[in-house]
Symmetry: C2
Subunit: 189 residues, 2 copies
């Protein structure tokens, strides 16, 4: 069986990355690598689906065991990607999707030359601000911080292989799937 592809996805928060991935993951050819985090679940988030929510102590044990492909601290919490489930699924021919913030993606780039990196951006920062307001899960000062952070993160675009604009969901999903198919058809050097 042909080995699957390792695909990293990053996007500033509020870019609709979760919605796009929700659509994409309806295809069973994908395995979504669920990250571990020490942050608190948001409303509606399910352990083992959105993240594996673990304690700081457990996270630090796993670091010590070398169980993470990458890990990073972000806004005071740990986030990390376990290596074993990724390798198992690649070997089974599944395309493995990793959703990782920009610094983690940089680590993957260095560690895994076989990985392809996709960046998702909003049509504009104004659109991003509106989406975060409409999501209604955060106060205005937090939203402004996220928009400022997004503005900075968008400058990381150059470090990715592909970049798609999430304007209309349907188009963004089609673009995402086109990129994945092209990655599958890429000639390995």
């Amino acid at each position: 069986m042909e080995r699957g592809k390792l695909i990293v996805v990053s996007a500033p928060s509020g870019c609709g990355k979760g919605t796009i991935l929700g659509e994409v993951l309806k295809d069973p050819k994908f395995y979504f690598s669920v990250s571990c985090t020490t942050r608190q679940p948001r409303e509606g988030e399910v352990d083992g689906v959105n993240y594996r929510f673990i304690t700081k102590e457990r996270f630090e044990e796993l670091i010590a065991e070398g169980a993470f492909l990458e890990h990073a601290e972000y806004v005071g919490n740990y986030y990390g990607t376990l290596l074993a489930p990724i390798e198992e699924n690649l070997a089974q021919g599944k395309d493995v999707l990793l959703e990782i913030e920009v610094k983690g993606a940089e680590q993957i780039r260095a560690l895994r030359p076989d990985a392809s990196l996709i960046f998702i951006v909003p049509p504009s920062l104004e659109t991003l601000r509106e989406r975060l307001i409409n999501r209604g899960t955060e106060e205005m000062d937090v939203i402004e911080k996220r928009v400022a952070k997004a503005e900075q993160e968008i400058t990381y675009r150059e470090r990715y292989d592909y970049c798609l604009v999430n304007d209309k969901l349907e188009d963004a999903v089609a673009d995402f799937l086109a990129i994945v198919r092209a990655i599958e058809l890429k000639v390995e050097k």
Copy 2:
């Protein structure tokens, strides 16, 4: 306006490249670069559509004028790609498709780092032989030469960015369009 992408397509003869491109070119976002050749038209081939059929003398004048992006000799005939129409269409935002044999593609790779290269292969050499027989335009000895040439050309796969297998036409067209979309969304380094 965003500049279009330069896309090179090669395939051993009989791989169905022409049929795939015929489908793909229904989308007006593409400009197909019609090559010049000194070979005789095959039955059904139209001057200015399949090739610009020109004399050896005219071809050599154009070489002297530096009008070609690349040119090559193949089975005793010249084939070449004029530069001016490519630049005009890229500037107008069109994706420019160049259909070029493997040696010409190598020249483009060296001359144009902005080009993406797609290779189309048959599911097997046996399938290729059958297709050439069914096309009915060539004698068996010519077909065997083409199959042998294809076997050798397939080893050029490694020099391309993407490789797709033309098994079912519909899938091959979808794969081709997915690759093109991904090329459009590629981050320029």
